[in-house]
């Protein structure tokens, strides 16, 4: 079957060059421990240093400001916990938003149980936080603002530059999770005005299990989670994930080099997809900001039907997508992001997220739209919520004949 992958916010295919460099650093003479003094160790140490330079350059940072981690979640935990621990004499207040990734939300909530006070700011109907709300929330006890650069579920880009200016003027440290934005839109730590920033390898055609935390030089932050050896300049204990680090270095370099080209390409595809879905299907709404959104991101809610049913039906047609419905989240609640945007439970259950990648093309979009229209019609016809739709099934359906009562239906 033809398979079309439209779930690039979940993860991306690894670029072949990136896979090659990983393989290289798993084999040949590149197996050394970078802490070792001998030739084997020095050889991989050099590779790590170069990767660090590449990652730093891709976000406008200095190599000394990059700490390699096991991924976005670890980097978020390290950033938030480290600032909290290093600044608890100064204050105990942390500001975040209701639509953060769980790696951030659950970390600040955990700190909330350890004597810290947390302000979770609301968002507007597009999922964006207002900079003035951030400003108003700052008290003399505020030690950290942590707000994502772009939202994973609805693609909305947050006003990070504006918040950066506010944070700096009030002397509050500012962390952003740039896992979704990095490689899709420009990410520059100085332009954004952030003190800490998280990136992840597998969202930019790199491998899973590798990420990085940027910590601006002079930031009052400390390593507070892992106890162990002196790796990463005493900032992250544990023997380095050498193949992952080399892969992240190359993936970052390639993402930055192709940013403009990829961004333009994806935007055209995305705009076509959004236009077609809104035109060809009734009772559907775009979620997230119509303009201030990631170039590869389209997300919708479909009335009267449920997200997992859509995903299963799409998967049967070879199309991979995702949803924020309760059934796909592992809990009884639909996406916290959609609910925070003021979307009702009922409608949030019918969410669908399509995230494009550079491997997608026009035909993929056309195939998707064609199949989606059929799927939505079919599920709506089965739904007790949609009053205008009647179910019909082809009469050659064996199972229906067995059941005996489908024959009457056209």
């Amino acid at each position: 079957m033809k398979r079309i992958y439209l779930d690039h916010s979940a993860t991306t295919p690894v670029r072949s060059e990136v896979a090659e460099i990983m393989y290289k650093y798993l084999t040949e003479d590149n197996f050394g421990n970078p802490t070792s003094l001998h030739w084997f160790g020095r050889k991989v140490r050099k590779g790590i240093d170069e990767a660090r330079e590449k990652v730093a350059k891709s976000i406008g940072a200095n190599a000394k400001e990059i700490i390699f981690t096991s991924g976005g979640t670890e980097a978020d935990n390290m950033a938030i916990h480290g600032v909290a621990m290093a600044n608890k004499n100064k204050g105990n207040h942390i500001i975040t938003t209701a639509v953060e990734h769980h790696a951030v939300l659950n970390t600040v909530k955990a700190l909330g149980k350890q004597g810290f006070t947390v302000t979770i700011l609301p968002v507007d109907k597009y999922g964006a936080v207002r900079a003035e709300d951030v400003s108003a929330a700052i008290t003399d006890k505020t030690i950290l603002i942590t707000i994502m650069h772009a939202n994973n579920e609805v693609g909305t880009i947050m006003p990070i530059e504006e918040i950066g200016v506010i944070a700096r003027s009030k002397g509050v440290l500012f962390h952003t999770d740039a896992v979704q934005s990095f490689g899709k839109i420009p990410v520059d730590v100085n332009k954004l005005g952030v003190d800490l920033l998280t990136i992840s390898g597998h969202k930019i055609h790199g491998p899973k299990g590798i990420g990085a935390l940027y910590v601006r030089r002079g930031t009052k932050w400390k390593q507070s989670l892992f106890h162990g050896g002196g790796q990463e300049g005493l900032k992250r204990a544990g023997t380095e994930n050498v193949p992952g680090i080399l892969a992240l270095g190359l993936a970052s370099e390639l993402a930055a080099a192709n940013l403009e080209k990829d961004n333009n390409y994806l935007k055209v595809l995305r705009d076509k997809l959004i236009k077609d879905v809104l035109e060809k299907i009734d009772q559907v709404e775009l979620t997230g900001h119509p303009v201030q959104r990631l170039p590869n991101h389209a997300s919708f809610t479909f009335r009267f039907i449920e997200g997992e049913s859509m995903l299963l039906s799409l998967d049967m047609k070879g199309i991979a997508a995702s949803s924020g419905s309760a059934c796909t989240s592992g809990s009884l609640e639909p996406s916290h992001v959609l609910l925070a945007m003021g979307i009702s439970h009922e409608i949030a259950h019918g969410s669908l997220r399509i995230t494009l990648g550079i491997g997608n093309n026009n035909q993929d979009i056309e195939y998707f739209i064609k199949e989606l229209s059929v799927i939505v019609d079919r599920l709506r016809a089965m739904s007790p919520l949609d009053p205008d739709n009647e179910f019909s099934q082809s009469s050659d359906c064996v199972s229906c004949k067995e059941s005996g009562s489908c024959n009457n239906l056209a």
Partner: protein
């Protein structure tokens, strides 16, 4: 994560639709939770002669609705009432653990339809 049987019932749901002159209608769940099942029954001499369903929900919700229509069709009301949600899940070769509560409501929907039928016929007599 779903058994082949679940996928079969999801792909080819049996007895979808409404019965306009139904003798009993049962609806369970609510849109907030993400699952609603509506069952229509036609009863003759205490036997479920025809049954149809409409469901808003995930794959498991649709599959359980579909299979229960096959399980109770032609059965007496008491036989139909004795079927539990657990038996419905078993008939589908099992459901993922997290689906056992939220989406496994089909037996409840049938029971609600039968109750509706019985209360209506009691009122008539």
């Amino acid at each position: 994560m779903y058994s082949e049987k679940v996928m079969d019932h999801f792909e080819n749901p049996r007895n979808v639709g409404e019965i306009i002159d139904a003798d009993g209608v049962g609806q369970v769940g609510n849109p907030t939770c993400g699952d609603i099942m509506k069952i229509y029954i036609k009863v003759n001499a205490d036997i479920i002669e025809d049954i149809k369903f409409k469901t808003f929900g995930c794959g498991a919700a649709i599959a359980t609705s579909s299979i229960i229509t096959e399980m109770v069709k032609g059965k007496t009301l008491d036989e139909a009432l004795s079927i539990s949600n657990k038996q419905v899940a078993a008939a589908l070769d099992g459901l993922p653990p997290k689906k056992m509560h939220c989406s496994n409501l089909a037996a409840d929907a049938v029971q609600a339809a039968i109750e509706d039928y019985r209360s209506k016929s009691n009122n008539k007599s």
